[in-house]
């Protein structure tokens, strides 16, 4: 896990990651030497009444502190560079990874969970990283060097806390080990509770319409109660840390005072030594305390780190490495050859035995029931998913032979669930073609029946959409999305139920404009309304993942029972 996170770090930041702890070591050495100088000052300065000695050693202490200060500032600076560099790297790799995800991988993680991983989880891991960089080095070094100093000053007295350290270490370890699963449980419950809030926000209209406020409040309180209990259970163990550590420290103090006092009285030790000994005990136990806190941070960030690594470790299952960069589709013909496809592997195919050949420039309508895999079928054309069986040909070549850029540049698709981005109308349209001129933009919008409403917006094509901008109606959004796709000047245009929120009249105008201006473009239209397909050259009727019938409107009325049924239900009652 650490390896995966580490791998993506840029060399520059790696350097900081090594340097920062190094400087921390120097800083600690300064901190540890100060009590020793102090003891010399008291023993030799006060003891012998030598003011010169006092001043010399006093200034030495000040000097050491200043050096320690400088090292401290430097290590923080380096640590910050390393920490921010680290999180930048992680965030960047995550984002790039997600960009490379196929539809299938993106489906597997939900969007919301990917967003949390890129934001909150990265933040948690960064905090743990920066803290470790400083404390995980500082504490052990402090522990070892302070112990060494104490041993050097008086080995017999130092034995007192050499005894205490393993005891304390053991009890901290024990507490943390026991607390770990409890923390896991608490974090899970916290996620659950946040999930419930999110769900309620999304469904607030349903909750209110069905008068379920009290029910939801009751369920929330139950869940919050569970969380509270888990929290108390987890923390109840941790609150032992501090008393245990204080108890150990105090026991050491008493022992040191007792033995130290006797040693001083016996003339085997000096008063200054006793005072610096006490400082060392404090430093050592504080660093142990710090270590136990770091472990808590590590525990809580571990879940975050794992969630990040999970994304990073997901193999990119769709790539164009084997493709020929020079190959471009010659025309807009499409052929499905014995295609079988399933989202969950071969056992659960949702498309079966698809054989279909579409000529360049043809307009084909696709109609079929809920769950008949119409959308799935067309998503294979720009290779948003790979087929499990058979192959899909565009312009005479297997889609897997093209680079994504070339293929998807030739196939424009308007998705069922479409999205506009924050930015102006113009910027959004330019997604289709960055170099599009204003005339081209306008022409595309006219064809998509969007020009009229766009010009009525406060700033026309420069109106900001989304956050803080204008909110468009569903139908208006759909029309802009179609315009955006038209700007690609595609060889193949796929409309996946993209006019469902557009009223019938506008819809028919749109189709008229399309067939007029984009002759030669192969057009696939998925629709619920047969009326949307009346200008199609052929209509494909899908049922349960298979092609049930293909033909013109008239042929299908003859041959396909399903088509006839659909037609009749939609037509019933028209005078």
């Amino acid at each position: 896990m650490i390896k995966t996170l580490w791998q993506g770090m840029k060399r520059r930041y790696r350097r900081y990651t090594f340097l920062a702890p190094l400087i921390v070591v120097l800083e600690v050495l300064m901190d540890v030497s100060i009590p020793y100088v102090m003891s010399l000052l008291i023993n030799n300065g006060i003891g012998k009444g030598d003011i010169g000695y006092v001043l010399r050693y006093g200034l030495l202490m000040v000097g050491l502190s200043i050096v320690s200060l400088l090292f401290g500032i430097l290590s923080v600076r380096l640590g910050t560079m390393a920490g921010t560099g680290f999180s930048k790297g992680v965030r960047e790799r995550l984002f790039h990874k997600v960009q490379d995800f196929s539809f299938a991988s993106a489906d597997r993680f939900s969007i919301a969970s990917l967003v949390t991983r890129l934001t909150t989880d990265v933040g948690n891991v960064e905090m743990a990283f920066t803290m470790c960089l400083r404390m995980l080095v500082r504490s052990p070094v402090m522990l070892v060097s302070a112990t060494a100093m104490a041993l050097f000053m008086n080995a017999r007295l130092a034995a007192v806390f050499l005894l205490a350290i393993p005891l304390i270490g053991f009890s901290f370890f024990y507490i943390i080990l026991r607390a770990y699963p409890l923390f896991q449980q608490m974090l899970e419950r916290m996620d659950g509770l946040n999930g419930r809030v999110q769900e309620n926000l999304n469904a607030i209209r349903v909750v209110k319409a069905l008068v379920r406020e009290d029910y939801e409040i009751e369920r929330f309180e139950q869940q919050a109660q569970d969380l509270k209990e888990a929290q108390i259970r987890a923390e109840r163990l941790l609150i032992w840390n501090q008393p245990v550590m204080n108890l150990a420290m105090y026991a050491c103090m008493i022992a040191i005072s007792w033995f130290g006092g006797i040693l001083i009285v016996q003339g085997q030790m000096e008063t200054g030594d006793l005072m610096s000994f006490i400082s060392y005990v404090t430093q050592i136990l504080m660093s142990l305390m710090m270590l136990s806190r770091i472990f808590i941070v590590l525990i809580t960030s571990r879940a975050s780190a794992m969630r990040i690594v999970e994304v990073l470790d997901t193999p990119v299952d769709l790539n164009d490495d084997a493709a020929d960069p020079a190959l471009a589709p010659q025309d807009g013909s499409i052929v499905f050859e014995g295609v079988g496809f399933g989202y969950y592997g071969e056992e659960r195919l949702i498309l079966n035995d698809i054989n279909l050949s579409i000529r360049a420039g043809e307009t084909v309508g696709i109609i079929g029931g809920t769950g008949s895999a119409k959308s799935t079928l067309v998503q294979l054309i720009p290779r948003l998913y790979d087929v499990q069986r058979g192959r899909v040909l565009v312009g005479g070549h297997d889609v897997r032979d093209y680079k994504f850029e070339t293929l998807r540049g030739a196939v424009a698709m308007v998705l069922q669930k479409n999205v506009l981005f924050s930015g102006s109308v113009r910027e959004n349209l330019r997604w289709g073609n960055e170099q599009a001129t204003d005339e081209e933009l306008e022409a595309a919008c006219r064809a998509a029946q969007a020009h009229d409403f766009v010009t009525e917006l406060p700033q026309g094509y420069d109106t900001e959409l989304g956050q803080g901008g204008v909110n468009l109606s569903g139908g208006q959004r759909q029309r802009l999305c179609i315009a955006r796709a038209l700007l690609c000047k595609p060889k193949i245009l796929i409309l996946d139920d993209s006019t469902s929120a557009v009223d019938t009249l506008t819809d028919s105008r749109l189709r008229a404009a399309l067939s007029e201006r984009h002759q030669g473009v192969t057009t696939l239209i998925i629709a619920q309304r047969i009326s949307s397909l009346t200008n199609a050259d052929r209509i494909v009727v899908m049922e349960g993942g298979r092609i049930e019938a293909v033909g013109t409107h008239e042929q299908l009325l003859e041959s396909s029972a399903i088509y006839r049924e659909v037609y009749e239900t939609q037509l019933k009652g028209v005078a």
Binding site: I42, T84, G369
Partner: protein
């Protein structure tokens, strides 16, 4: 023999997501504006713990005293029991023993006090947070729809995920840390003064320098932190937007450009973070080193004074320890200050959300189940009878039971979501009991708004909507909504089984009733094929059901509710026409005898309505049944026959 003052902070529990955040100790997002009121209000949630908090206060006093005593004891220990016996052949160790035994008792008291404080605060802080969390949720559920229109979900979510967690830091450590640090500072100050006033003055000068540098660093840190928060907001916003639109990115091959834009924002964030974290990170080493410098200077001064016989060795030892004990709480307050500020700012946001006015309900008419007694008179009953009545309180304390028939009248309704933009302009319409009324029109014509007014998601200033002759403003909101069953355009399901989701319409429905309702909506078929049938778990935004299947479940949910009036807002828009034809009979039986409002794009669904109302830009332009409107050759005719236009 003392140590530096203990950090009196219980171990920091993980705050979960957002805890501390990358801002570290400067997590002061925004400044609290009404500090005093906010603090008082937080304390008011702890009201039930008054006794325990008092005890904690006492324990803190005890702890502070033990800190003072054990440091002070250094002086007699060294002066009276060690120094006089140095080099003596037969030292009297009884004094040393006595003091150390006394100290042991003091230490034990201290440890017990620490544990007790932590234990009490564990309960207090968790219970307080629990109460705030629950109250926040309860208040949120009762807010009007309008509030959710104007506040993003992210904004509300962050109250739970971020603000409550920073508040948690304040309650579990900040509060106690603040009090105990303050007490230690005051106590140590007087102890030092009693040991040696001259050294105390010197000490104060050093402390002044220290606090100056702390203030300077904190100031820069906060400014940097604000810049960092802004950059972080931009990066996170970009992430959210691009991931939401991930499929579009793919389709347009926008990946490379997205990566470039992201890298740019990410680098900006890094630079801002470097600035913010450098300052905030420096706080600890700077105050640490300054306190060493302070220590050294005190050591020089006191040693010189000792050499001139102005102080004794014991005083030097005790004073030096005090100097450490004095600077540590100052550092601690400095470091916690930002945490406290951000917690208060968070608490302010939480309280602001709680203080939003909830949905007003001045209704007095309630919905009751009734049965027909002798002579056809209505009698209230607790059983489900399928018969409903309004209980209308009369003028003189009496009450009237009026059967719910579903007679709805809109009279000259004018409405806009925002003051200067009228959405409905003088709408008048009526639905006779049991009629099916269809609302037809282009997007934005105001169809959904009509249903939103009917169930009072939005309030009309004056009631011009009558329901069985009762002004809907007089009807209690929950009862009004219970009498209407809505299937909304945006079908939302909840985490839980299919069974639970359908039962959401009526919580006391039996399994049998749920399955029947599913059958009515023709959802039974596909549910059978789910891995675990009705026990299959659904996720809230889960992609495991198609939009059409979700609509079928939503219809089943409405069917199980079995209300007097139905509102179907594009309830079948994602269901293909064939399946729709299949559920038509189910829908017909659902609608039988009920007043039903139907909104649909697909005009085939509204053909058999008793009345079709055609809306355009907030006004009714046509009304009539299908045949009449077709005959009239108006807008409806155009819309309806739009499908043949191109033939």
């Amino acid at each position: 023999m003392s140590n530096t003052s203990q950090s009196r902070t219980p171990p920091r529990g993980p705050g979960g997501p957002g805890h501390g955040g990358p801002g570290g100790m400067f997590a002061a997002s925004g400044r609290p504006k009404r500090t005093k009121e906010t603090v008082l209000r937080i304390l008011s949630y702890m009201g039930e713990f008054k006794g325990r908090l008092l005890l904690v206060g006492l324990l803190l006093v005890v702890s502070t005293l033990t800190t003072l005593v054990r440091t002070y004891s250094l002086k007699p220990l060294i002066n009276n029991h060690i120094v006089p016996f140095i080099g003596s052949r037969d030292p009297d160790l009884s004094g040393l023993t006595r003091i150390l035994l006394g100290l042991s008792v003091v230490y034990l008291i201290d440890v017990a006090a620490i544990y007790a404080t932590n234990r009490i605060m564990l309960q207090v802080s968790n219970q307080t947070l629990h109460r705030i969390r629950c109250e926040l949720f309860e208040k949120m559920e009762r807010l009007p729809i309008r509030y959710f229109d104007t506040h993003s979900h992210g904004e509300l979510m962050s109250l739970y995920s971020n603000d409550i967690n920073t508040l948690r830091n304040l309650l579990s450590q900040g509060l106690i840390g603040f009090f105990s640090s303050g007490m230690v500072i005051v106590g140590v100050f007087f102890a030092m003064l009693s040991l040696n006033p001259l050294l105390t003055v010197l000490m104060l000068a050093m402390v002044l320098l220290m606090s100056k540098s702390v203030t300077w660093l904190s100031g820069h840190g906060r400014a940097g932190y604000r810049a960092q928060q802004k950059a972080l907001g931009q990066v996170n916003g970009y992430i959210e937007e691009l991931l939401e639109g991930q499929k579009v990115v793919k389709v347009f091959c926008y990946e490379q450009r997205a990566k470039e834009q992201f890298d740019q924002l990410n680098e900006q964030l890094r630079q801002a973070a470097v600035k913010a974290n450098t300052f905030s990170g420096m706080l600890m080493p700077v105050t640490g080193s300054l306190s060493y410098i302070n220590y050294a200077i005190i050591a020089i001064a006191s040693s010189v004074m000792a050499i001139f016989g102005m102080v004794d060795l014991g005083t030097v030892a005790a004073f030096l320890q005090y100097s450490r004990a004095f600077s540590q709480p100052i550092t601690q307050i400095a470091m916690q200050f930002a945490t406290v500020l951000s917690a208060l700012a968070g608490a302010e946001r939480i309280f602001a959300a709680m203080d939003e006015p909830p949905e007003q309900d001045e209704g007095e008419v309630s919905l009751v189940t009734v049965r027909r007694g002798e002579g056809g008179r209505l009698q209230q009953t607790d059983r489900r009878t399928g018969l409903w009545a309004w209980r209308i309180p009369g003028a003189e304390g009496g009450e009237e039971l009026r059967e719910v028939r579903g007679d709805v009248v809109f009279k000259d309704v004018v409405f806009g979501y925002v003051p200067d933009k009228v959405v409905l302009n003088g709408i008048s319409l009526y639905a006779k009991p049991g009629q099916k009324i269809a609302l037809v029109g282009a997007t934005g014509a105001g169809k959904t708004t009509i249903t939103n007014l009917l169930n009072r998601f939005y309030d009309l200033p004056d009631g011009r909507i009558l329901y069985d002759g009762i002004d809907i403003n007089r009807i209690r909101k929950p009862d009004l909504r219970r009498s209407l069953s809505m299937v909304l355009q945006d079908t939302r399901l909840f985490t839980g089984s299919v069974m639970d989701n359908i039962r959401y319409g009526r919580l006391d429905a039996s399994d049998q009733e749920v399955v029947e309702a599913a059958g009515l909506a023709n959802a039974d078929g596909f549910v059978q094929y789910l891995p675990e049938g009705y026990d299959t778990l659904l996720t809230a935004d889960g992609g495991n059901l198609s939009q059409g299947q979700r609509q079928l479940l939503a219809i089943a949910r409405a069917a199980v509710a079995d209300p007097p009036v139905l509102v179907l807002d594009e309830a079948t828009s994602s269901i293909d026409t064939r399946t729709e034809a299949l559920i038509e009979r189910g829908m017909d039986s659902l609608m039988a005898g009920r007043t039903t409002f139907v909104i649909a794009h697909r005009l085939s669904t509204v053909r058999n309505a008793n009345a079709i109302i055609v809306l355009e830009q907030g006004e009714i332009i046509e009304r009539g049944d299908h045949d009449e409107l077709i005959a009239a050759r108006g807008k409806y005719y155009q819309l309806y026959t739009g499908m043949f236009e191109l033939e």
